[in-house]
Symmetry: C2
Subunit: 457 residues, 2 copies
Amino acid sequence: MVVYRAPLRDYQFLFHEVFDTCGVARKLGFDVQPEVVDSVVAGFGEFVTDVWLPTNAIGDADGCRFEDGDVTVPAAFKDAWRKTVDAGWFALAADPDHGGAGMPLFVKTALDEIAVSGNMALSTFGALCAGVSDLIRDHADEEHKQLYLERICTGEWCGTMALTEPHCGTDLGILTTRAEPLSDGRYSIRGTKMFITAGDHDLAENIIHMVLARLPDAPEGTRGISLFLVPKFLDDGNGGLGERNAVACGSIEKKMGLHGSPTCVMNFDGATGFLVGPPNEGMRLMFEMMNRERLATGMMGLGLGEIAYQNALAYARDRRQGRDLRGPREPAEPADNILVHPDVRRMLLRCKANNEGSRALAVYVGLLLDQMRRGEGEDRRRAEDLVALLTPVVKAHLTDLGCESASDCVQVMGGSGYIREFAVEQFLRDSRIAPIWEGTNGIQALDLVGRKIPKNM
Amino acid sequence: MVVYRAPLRDYQFLFHEVFDTCGVARKLGFDVQPEVVDSVVAGFGEFVTDVWLPTNAIGDADGCRFEDGDVTVPAAFKDAWRKTVDAGWFALAADPDHGGAGMPLFVKTALDEIAVSGNMALSTFGALCAGVSDLIRDHADEEHKQLYLERICTGEWCGTMALTEPHCGTDLGILTTRAEPLSDGRYSIRGTKMFITAGDHDLAENIIHMVLARLPDAPEGTRGISLFLVPKFLDDGNGGLGERNAVACGSIEKKMGLHGSPTCVMNFDGATGFLVGPPNEGMRLMFEMMNRERLATGMMGLGLGEIAYQNALAYARDRRQGRDLRGPREPAEPADNILVHPDVRRMLLRCKANNEGSRALAVYVGLLLDQMRRGEGEDRRRAEDLVALLTPVVKAHLTDLGCESASDCVQVMGGSGYIREFAVEQFLRDSRIAPIWEGTNGIQALDLVGRKIPKNM
């Protein structure tokens, strides 16, 4: 029953009429034409509508399974993931050196939204790949770049961010996972992480965990946390799958929504890890990934708000109940279309306005990301500052709006909004995680007001 | 993991310190003492906490089954229902003539809230019994009162309200279910109803459907709708179960929440029905029940808001993350309690304030219901007008607040709020139907502003 059309015209308007994205990108050295950008977005829209969207309700109904220590995702996801990897969609904005197509990041804004609309659960795996590949690109040593970068950029292998522990989520300063140095320069990681999205699954043969842990004698608090790369399977010496590492899923959570994305307890039981970046600099490094995921989470609010809106609008266009307060609009019909009712229009137009505003903000930040990565001097610094300032805004505001929109869309559809057959109740359930993870929206507020606003005062 | 304590002190405060409920009730002829009222509420609180609450998560996980034309509720519900019937809780406010205890309706306010907190799905069956028994008491003929009234008052048998059809929910004027008069004064009912809460189930041996249908040559629109009583099993002539009537469940919906309460498509295939009240007066009569259900739905918002709050508060009291912005509150602990964070306090205090305000409004309306039923002259008219005015306010405002509170409580609990183990995500899913059914909250707004406010101008 679900309907979806990628908002191509909206992106064309923002890309070419509001922001001159291609002009800016060309100045940054990208070889990018409006027609190419539009056709990439349109192509991905078609791909997601055909390949991802039909798997979304299946993923919700079937969920993930945890048996004999292994996590299995819904079977339909495997096929959709494979096709996405093969088509090269995940690597669109990655460097050509790492198997990518070298597109600017503003283009990826559109793709992120569309992916979430098609299947938010499946999109979480991709969002993690993007964050982990950036971390490896910027901070891992050459050997690990060689081993992992291209395969994670393309989605051939997957990644995770392993921060949260049972006693600490927001407050990472009290985390207790330990990293003992081994004689060969590697580390033995021991501890339990929880709420690890895509911690184990069968979409990819290997999963690369980015793990926060403490070295012996590390300072207390957040200044004593280091970042480690812990692969599910170690290298066999030829770039292939070697020995299974001592990291395993202990259980998966039963959640309100996002059933197709496994939320794992991960046990590191003397797992082999590799230090990424300098010792005790883990929080700073991980927050590069965290900030990337915060923007991606904002897009989750938008992606779900958009598809919820499209479905509520389609339902409203079809449904007849009652009469226009000013008199019957279509007297020959048994009732007028519900779009005549002011409250229905109010709810739908609020969703539309919030989606369009959110999208504009997202494209603006997407273009800033390109300026931050490719720009120079003052331009680059300005882009960095603006991205820092707007990251908590995008994360919190777009996810709050996404939940509001999904809830309004349920309301527009009445009883049909509440039942699985009409898809929108899933969007509401899926959306409700977004104001929580990657730092609750209350934490985003603290970040904005306590850190970002006074930063350059 | 779920915690709950019935808000006894709150009700004592409202009953005896704010409203002098017993004084008012005694003037209306009730023989009611504060100590008795308090012990009834406390007794029901204990009963629900012991008997209903443990079945709530089971009902959510197991849901209802539809097999071979019959609906089965979660097994745990049957035992809980039986104990409630046997203890006489359902009949507390019913007349002693009908197996009841004759308590004032304001007392039932507290019971309605507590029942929802314990198990909203199970409470829906009881709310329908109360509405159907009122309809039968006030409008059915003597034979049907004899047959059904006591058994529905007590919960021995159950009831439904069958209004909605696939093409009409809000707009009942276009309903098409037909009632053909038979030679013996009975009627043959044909049509399909949908979204019928508790349309079929195995909690009770018999189910009495209150059905809206059109007589031949009835006027168009809402003026041509009559009310019929359609039992699942006809009388055997001795008050026992006779022939199975031609009414059957066609399917049940898969819903966002409220999994323990079956939402049925009901097919009336020449079912034997009995006219209740005068022909073509069905809408007026059914709206007596509808208004009762609207108030009960408001209590659903409150009941879920309250138990969500209690669980979020219990979690917050136990959880340590971060430090008080003014400096560590408990330096010897690894982190302060999350209650030190202003945003956590804001969310919890908002829930608490909304729950307490909602409860005060509910008790006020409960007392008005007693005045409406037992009062005389101007006092009675005033109570009727106030109940009419406040019914859409209670329904819409309390259900909106219930959803907001449940969502805030999820947020307070972070990731734990999103997982089933901590119960609150179920309260949020269950709460989301309440702004929709018994007239969406947009319809309540139209009723308030378009009808109730100008009524006595």
